[in-house]
Amino acid sequence: MQISTNIWQWISVACIFGMWSLPLYKDNPFYRVCQNIFVGSCAGHAIGIAVGNMVKYGFQPVIQQSQLHLIIPIVLGILLYARFFPSVAWLSRWSVAFLVGVGVGQAIYSSLRSQVINQAVAAMTKFPGETLGTTVNNLISIIGLLAVLTYFLFTIPQTRFVKGFSQLGRWLMMVTFGVGFGNVVSGRLSVLLGELLKIFQDWLGLI
């Protein structure tokens, strides 16, 4: 066993124990201190990076390279803060309108192509497939797709056949949610394992 002499490892492990003290014991000052350190350091780091970005992509090109067209986005960015002054709050709507317009414009066409058309094309599988396994997989895939879509068909009466098919869709979704939950458990365990590795490997030197 070789305990780390790095002060940051000690602080890091102390914060881990501090965070664990909430579920294992109850809300306590040690937990609050660690929580505030986390929130404060995250906020400080984000502000530092944001200011750096404004300098790197905004002020430096304008001042050093005379890229005067960048003044427009800088002004629009400053106008966002007008909402804090009631008399000129309406000015912030220009910036918001610009952001919404660009965002929607970028997303509408590309979302339709990438997440609707291309996915629909991918769902049109070859039948029969190259092997028996592929054929069965394709069959499950297409039946599953139609069953789940049927579950969300609210415009036709749920007669005997449609009801049975939509029930199949419901079961398939339940399986999907189960897979999702399993992955959540696995992911959370990985985070915990990371903390344990930090304790056993980086701090105590046991591994």
Partner: protein
């Protein structure tokens, strides 16, 4: 409270302590539970194996934060190790989180300690604000990032020579704690680049349709994928060392779920019996 009620209301602190003990033992004394290689992970490995160290440069979009923990960090570490072993140069940039450059620096610090050269073997271009729009801008003009995190001019970096648009990169991979739809929308489909993603375990099911449609060439998800990747590279690292503990953790969770369900069905039967009387 009788036994049936206790089965349904196990104190969460007991579950946490049992989990901590169960996960710690295999970490300290690995059991060596065998694992299978996922085709989506193998696909990423095959792409990296197929790259030419003489001319190919890889772009890594580092979009995960420290809060995502080792589940997000092990995949980029495994892939970067593979890239370095093969002598393939790479460039990192972040769009999704301001923490990305810091996470990249964690990897770079270790590489520099081992003798690799910043600027020649790899570079960290930092964080570019703007989300989806920034991704699009960078894809069309990679020199729109004026300087890297160390203040070097991007166009002067040896690793960036010959890079103008994203098409000049042989392979692009995003590492994040979410899903890469923005990349697929703005770069993968319009520009037809080879793109894969490494994410946290939670996000993997939602990415399978993109892998099946060919929009993603490979998917890595969390510790298990990283462990598989390390095995493929014959370099067991942190991912592999965690897999025994991960498997034991799953068994414990299954045990508690079964326990809770036994309690539920027993209490249901007891209530039915009482109602019948």
């Amino acid at each position: 409270m009788n036994l049936i009620d206790k089965l349904q209301n196990v104190d969460t602190r007991i579950i946490y302590i049992v989990l901590l003990i169960t996960l710690s033992i295999p970490l300290l004394h690995p059991i060596g539970i065998p694992m299978q290689i996922n085709p989506m992970t193998r696909a990423v490995y095959d792409i990296v194996e197929g790259l030419d160290p003489e001319k190919d440069i890889v772009l890594l979009s580092m979009d995960y934060m420290p809060g995502a923990g080792l589940d997000a960090e092990v995949c980029p570490i495994a892939v970067v190790e593979h890239l370095m072993e093969r002598g393939i140069k790479w460039v990192a940039i972040s769009f999704g989180t301001t923490d990305g450059p810091m996470m990249t620096n964690r990897i770079i610090t270790d590489l520099e300690r081992r003798g690799y050269k910043y600027g020649e073997d790899f570079a960290n271009l930092g964080y570019m604000a703007g989300g989806e729009n920034a991704i699009r801008l960078f894809a069309l003009d990679c020199l729109s990032v004026p300087t890297d995190v160390r203040g070097n001019r991007t166009s002067d970096l040896p690793v960036m020579q010959g890079i103008r648009t994203i098409k000049d990169f042989a392979f692009v991979m995003q590492f994040s704690a979410s899903t890469p739809e923005a990349w697929i929308r703005q770069v993968v489909d319009p520009m037809g680049i080879a793109f894969a993603t490494g994410t946290v375990t939670v996000c993997v099911p939602s990415l399978v349709p993109y892998y099946n449609s060919g929009q993603l060439k490979g998917v890595m998800g969390g510790v298990s994928s990283a462990a598989q990747y390390e095995i493929l590279c014959n370099k067991p690292g942190r991912g592999a060392s965690m897999m025994d503990a991960q498997s034991m953790g799953h068994l414990i969770i299954i045990f508690f779920i079964v326990l809770g369900n036994i309690g539920y069905f027993l209490s249901k039967r007891t209530k039915e019996n009482l109602a019948a009387k």
